[in-house]
């Protein structure tokens, strides 16, 4: 049978179209199988070898009816009329397609096989480019990930730096305020002492004279002056206390005792219900008991003042990780969010009386002990302070 005449134009176009659909879709293995299948079915090829790469790096990615690679090199070199070889790339560096059929290859067949080979070559080049692109994308992704990690590290470092700066500013500010407070307090204390003595003398004279009977408001005004002198004295004591925050004199301390002492020094109004949940099994910690008592006293007094209409005051203790935690909760009016982060700053106060040094001093003391103070508050619900002190001395 004349093979050429047996093939209709439509069939030939169908074959060419089918070849044009050859794509490197999922894997090299899948593509290789498709190449073999098409070469065997469309062309009736007896043998096929599809090689990729060049020289020693050249590898066989598909073969039909080759028992070993020695067979391939032997057959490829024969260059017989029934054999077809196509080198990929301008210099054959991309690989080669070798096919062998039963009869000599006609010109028409050779054209179709060349089209097939070019399609295989295009698919391999596209696959190589896709693999290269994928590699670049992976490298780019890896670089992006590294950059992301570096950015995160930088951001964390910036945060730490900012915190350190703020700490430094706070410390410097505290030191400056402490120095000023010490000076002012000292300077005010002597005149205030003289005033207090003068008022005491006048009060004594007035009490024994008729003036007390004739001018009853005189005694009242002297009492006011005496109260205000006491208030001023307290402020001066605070200022001097702030300026005297010194290195803690640590000793093994039972925190329960410190809390009980602090509570005993604060008069708790009847409308405030005190609840103590103090863990009796807690180990002793290395702190300065006087300084810590001062901290707790400050917070407890604030809590009591926050509940003029009454409420609940709860003091509890527990161990949390590496810290001993003292928690003081009130059911007062709470602290608005916008002022919550300012309450530890010196001279910040929301009260009519007081100069805003209590919490700043407390924080300074706890920081010196290697601990920290946390606060959570909700307006209308109340406030919780947590004083965290290290279990192991720092």
């Amino acid at each position: 049978m004349n093979r050429t005449s047996a093939v209709s134009t439509v069939a030939e176009l169908s074959i060419l179209y089918e070849i044009s659909l050859l794509r490197f879709s999922e894997s090299e293995e899948g593509f290789a199988e498709e190449v073999i299948e098409k070469a065997a079915r469309l062309f009736g090829m007896r043998r096929l070898a599809l090689l990729a790469g060049e020289g020693k790096a050249q590898r066989l990615i598909a073969s039909l009816a080759f028992r070993n690679e020695k067979d391939i090199s032997k057959l490829i070199g024969q260059n017989k009329p029934n054999q077809f070889k196509f080198d990929f790339g301008s210099d054959g560096k991309l690989g080669a397609l070798f096919m062998e059929q039963a009869h000599p290859i006609e010109n028409r067949e050779r054209r179709i096989y060349t089209f097939f080979a070019r399609q295989v070559e295009n698919a391999l080049v596209a696959a190589r480019e896709a693999a290269e692109r994928k590699r670049w994308e992976e490298e780019l992704q890896a670089t992006e990930e590294e950059l992301h990690v570096a950015n995160e590290e930088l951001r964390a470092a910036n945060e730490e730096l900012k915190e350190a700066q703020e700490q430094l500013i706070r410390s410097e500010r505290l030191a400056a305020i402490g120095q000023l407070a010490g000076g002012v307090g000292h300077e005010l204390r002597n005149p205030l002492g003289a005033i207090k003595n003068a008022v005491y003398y006048i009060k004594g004279k007035v009490a024994k004279s008729e003036l007390a009977q004739k001018e009853p408001r005189l005694t009242e005004f002297l009492d006011i002056a005496d109260d205000e002198i006491n208030s001023s004295n307290k402020i001066i004591n605070d200022l001097l206390g702030f300026s005297r925050v010194v290195k803690p004199a640590v000793s093994s301390t039972r925190i329960k005792q410190v809390i009980d002492d602090a509570l005993s020094r604060v008069p708790i109004p009847e409308n405030i219900e005190l609840t103590k949940r103090l863990d009796t099994d807690l180990n002793e910690i290395e702190v300065d008991p006087d300084q810590i008592q001062k901290v707790l006293l400050n917070i407890i007094m604030n809590a009591v003042q926050a509940m003029p209409e009454g409420g609940k005051l709860t003091v509890s203790t527990r161990e949390e990780g590496k810290f001993l935690e003292v928690e003081i909760t009130d059911t007062g009016g709470g602290i608005p969010e916008e002022t919550l982060d300012k309450i530890f700053e010196p001279l910040f106060t929301t009260r009519a009386k007081g100069i805003g040094l209590g919490l700043a001093v407390s924080k300074s003391i706890v920081d010196r002990h290697g601990g920290h103070i946390e606060v959570k508050s909700e307006v209308g619900e109340g406030t919780t302070f947590k004083v965290k002190l290290p279990l192991e001395a720092v």
Binding site: V10, I36, A40, R41, G44
Partner: protein
Amino acid sequence: MKFGVACNKLDDSREAGRKAAEGAVKVSGKPTLTFVFTTDFYDHKVVLETVKEAVGNSKIVGFCARGIIFAEDMLEQAVAVGTLAGAELSVATSLQQGITENSYSAGHRAGEELLASGISKGLVIVLPDGFTGNKTEVIRGLYNVMGPDFIYIGGSSGGNLKSSKTYQFTEVGVKSDALAVALLDGMSINAGVVHGWKPTQALLVITKSEGKRVYEIDGCPAFDIYSERLGADTVDNFIKLGKQYPLGIPDVSGNYLIRDPKSVNDDKSVNFVSEIPANSVANIMKGSVKDQIEADKSLISMIIDRNAEPQFALVFDCISRSLLMGKEFKKELKIIWESIGREVPVFGALTHGEIGSFVGAPMFHNKTLALAVLSSK
């Protein structure tokens, strides 16, 4: 070199096997290779044991099939035995189980076993299970080991479709989901595969397929496109018309690989009897009994060696061709027999897919006639 063929239609497996084997051996003498083709009515193990008693140390290859072709007859119940005897014959067989698990590997292992015999050319008779595995892969595995120095012919086993199992055998035993192969050298062999299907102008592009299942044709659900082209309004009608108008995938030598639609899935994908190559262009084919018979004659005239005397013909004819031809099928068998020569024993089976090559590498076909004619050298 002598050939003997005999068949028996008795119900008893032992008796049918014994009489068929003894009948064949009586003509050929002690055989070197024995073909045993049975229908699924029989107990194949009993048949094989009985045949072995009659043929002695002969290598055996065989399977069960829907029907036996014996000269100009198609027998729906029979044991047929063909024996080839002669000192010049060299034979090897292999039986590989598990073509479902790894079709390519089963073919590969079979090829390695046949080559281990030292025979370097000849006819490879390939008989895989017709209901399991991927036959295209089986053949690829076999051909990749054995290569183009051999001629390949064969068909897939089958039955009356009442059982999901079919059987393949060699002298070592009877298996299912297996591949039985034999390699025969020592005589002149010509073989080919043919059909009379002709392309219509209706071209379809298989845009999405996997194995035997075609999801999309021309980018649309396969059933919608194929049934529209056939003018089929129901699935039943589509399957019926599809048998008369199968798909044909052209090759460069002008031949078409035929694929039969078998069933339709809920997603409108279509299952075919055999694997459909991905990204292929197919024609809708048409054919008449006359076309098929003309094609048969053309193949026979091409493969018969005019310089040698045909002595034995091995035939694998597709079951669907016999169903389509109906009563005319007997006419086809008669013409085949007469074209080869009435003095030549024609021996074969109805198969669920045929194996052979138009040119070059062997393929798995549907709706074809695969024929090997053996002559003295």
